[in-house]
């Protein structure tokens, strides 16, 4: 059975001056899946998310979401249409409490039009509990530690009631235990019916939660497919770890 395509890019391209950060990327995201987006540093992963979500103007190509061409839309309209994201470098609203931070998502996001600020503030308790921050509900965002700031990012995005969620390195800087917890959270979010694109360097997490992986290198598609296959693809390993490592890796495998 053909799965429903939620988001699709056609030859999405982004140039900075003469530099091609993203070059003719065609990507399909199916409704309900968890897709992994990986690639070495500077491969253009975040730029790719930025042009989809309207944070950066696209140079050429098309972005289609739920059958609507959203190319060139301002970020806030895309957000209201049902795409949410977290930021690699966390972007909390420091002057607000946790609850207000999350409530902003609830009042401006996908279903925000119908909510008053008060309703939004009441609505978000559940989400705050979901990410495990109930005790910190009335703390100011500038008093939180990094793991909680990452969760706050997640809660803010969730409060927007998105259909598609981009998670940009939510696990970077977390310890093993925290990563486990975060993976569990991602699965739980997906279980709520939210399609997810995960950008991650933590391979364990990619293998653990994604069904499919898309690899970017120098702004171009390098490979896509099931996580295990893709990660054993020599081209991917080479791109990630360099020629020398590939040789060593295969030597080790042979030795084993």
């Amino acid at each position: 059975m053909e799965r429903e395509i939620l988001l699709e890019t056609h030859e999405a391209t982004k140039h900075f001056g003469g530099l091609a950060a993203v070059e003719k990327v065609n990507m399909k995201i199916y409704r309900g899946e968890i897709l992994g987006l990986i690639g070495p540093n500077g491969a253009g992963k975040t730029t790719f998310v930025n042009i989809i979500t309207g944070m950066l103007p696209i140079t050429s190509g098309k972005v289609i979401f739920k059958g609507t061409d959203i190319t060139g839309w301002p970020a806030y309209r895309i957000g209201r249409l049902g795409i949410a994201r977290t930021f690699q470098i966390v972007k909390p609203f420091r002057g607000m409490t946790v609850r207000e931070n999350v409530a902003v998502g609830a009042m401006f996001g996908h279903k925000g039009q119908t909510r008053s600020p008060r309703e939004a503030l009441e609505h978000v308790d559940e989400i705050i509990e979901f990410v495990g921050m109930s005790d910190l509900r009335d703390k100011h965002a500038d008093q939180l530690t990094l793991p909680y700031l990452k969760r706050l990012e997640l809660a803010k995005a969730l409060a927007m009631d998105p259909e598609l969620l981009f998670l940009d390195e939510v696990m970077a800087g977390l310890n093993t235990k925290e990563i486990e917890a975060a993976m569990e959270l991602v699965r739980k979010i997906n279980a709520r019916g939210i399609t997810i694109l995960v950008i991650e360097h933590v391979m364990k997490a990619i293998v653990g939660v994604t069904e499919r992986v898309f690899v970017l290198n120098f702004g171009q598609e390098l490979a896509q497919g099931k996580p295990e296959e893709v990660l054993n693809n020599p081209a991917v390993i080479k791109a990630y770890l360099g020629e020398k490592f590939v040789q060593r890796f295969f030597r080790q495998q042979q030795a084993a």
Binding site: G79, V104, F108, G109
Partner: protein, 346 residues
């Protein structure tokens, strides 16, 4: 936290920082007393024309500072040209009264709307600029507008200015303008409170804290910023219109003075930017300081030096303003004063 406690805990609005920190009762009480004092002030025995004049100036400054707080304090855009709106309000009111022959109130409305319109037209392009660039663009526009008003003799009267009729009856003009200003300042407080209870308030603060994130979360940042700019123009425009009729003349060099921008910023900063009452209280602190320096202390011509030194000390030790101390969010101690330096020094 048990369920019961959760229910009991009131919704905490950080938006109302400075008030809802457990002493809102005391503060609101004191503030109400102060407002009552202001309301009956003209009937007190020591309320001479001079003090009425001074308080009118303070209230106009407070109104402008409250307006500046929308764009500078809540939205976080360092607007350094708000005096342009003051000037637009003054000229709009003055020209409507003299050229169109309208009475004061419709003229005031026209002046304020002109200021708002100008803010919208200017805001759309320049609110895309960030930081220093936005700041200087606003200074540049305000200065240029002042110069244009100053030399466009056929329309604005140029350097000869516009002469307005006196308020009639003239014996009550002091009281009239005092109450107009009081109304405007208190109206500004209510407007702030009203906005903070609306989505607009949340969008402003979200923009201040992180514009990209705000945009991404579905906030139409352009609209929110332009509204903040336009509302701050409304406050300054109304203040300008009242000022024009009060002074009975409009002169570019008076109503486009960059000092007014600085005064409103200083008032807001002294009190605390991004707080409801900060700009209002800051205006009083600032002006009383000035008045004491100019009129009552034997500092002679060095009062500007003392004022400058005070600003420097405030910037170094408490750039978040006094609201933090008044509200009890911070205690006054050596440590809290040095905290700023510890955070921001290199």
């Amino acid at each position: 936290m048990s369920d019961r406690e959760k229910k009991k805990a009131p919704l905490q609005y950080s938006l109302f920082d400075g008030l809802f920190q457990g002493r809102q009762g005391v503060l609101l009480g004191l503030f109400t007393l102060f407002l009552i004092f202001l309301a009956i002030f003209p009937f007190l025995s020591f309320a001479s024309g001079f003090w009425l004049n001074t308080l009118t100036l303070i209230l106009l400054l407070a109104a402008m500072a409250i307006g500046w707080n929308f764009i500078g304090g809540y939205t976080g855009y360092a607007a350094f040209g708000n005096v342009a709106f003051f000037g637009f309000g003054a000229y709009g009111t003055g020209l409507s009264m003299t050229k169109l022959g309208l009475s004061f109130f419709p003229s005031l409305l026209i002046g304020a709307l002109a200021a708002m319109l100008f803010a919208i037209v200017m805001g759309l392009p320049i609110l895309r600029l960030k930081g220093h660039y936005f700041a200087i663009a606003t200074v540049a526009i305000a200065t240029a507008m002042g110069e244009i008003a100053d030399s466009w003799t056929s329309f604005t009267g140029g350097a000869a200015g516009i002469t307005l009729p006196f308020f009639d009856p003239i014996e009550w003009s002091g009281q009239f303008f005092y109450y107009m200003s009081l109304l405007l300042a208190v109206g500004g407080l209510l407007l702030t409170w009203f906005i903070l209870n609306r989505k607009m308030g949340y969008s402003w603060i979200a923009i201040r804290e992180d514009e990209d994130a705000a945009n991404m979360m579905g906030i139409n940042t352009t609209w929110a910023k332009v509204m903040a700019f336009a509302l701050s123009a409304l406050m300054a425009g109304l203040a300008g219109g009242i000022y024009a009729y009060w002074k009975t003349f409009v002169l570019a060099e008076e109503v486009f003075k960059i000092e007014y921008t600085l005064q409103m910023i200083l008032a807001a900063v002294l009190g605390g930017t991004g707080t409801i009452f900060g700009p209002f209280i800051g205006a009083f602190i600032y002006y009383i300081l000035i008045t004491l320096l100019v009129f009552f202390l034997p500092v002679g011509q060095l009062h500007a030096t003392i004022l400058g030194t005070i600003i420097i000390l405030v910037m170094v030790f408490t750039p978040k303003g006094l609201m933090d101390f008044i509200s009890g969010r911070k205690k006054i101690s050596i440590n809290s004063l040095l905290e700023n330096i510890r955070t921001y020094r290199v």
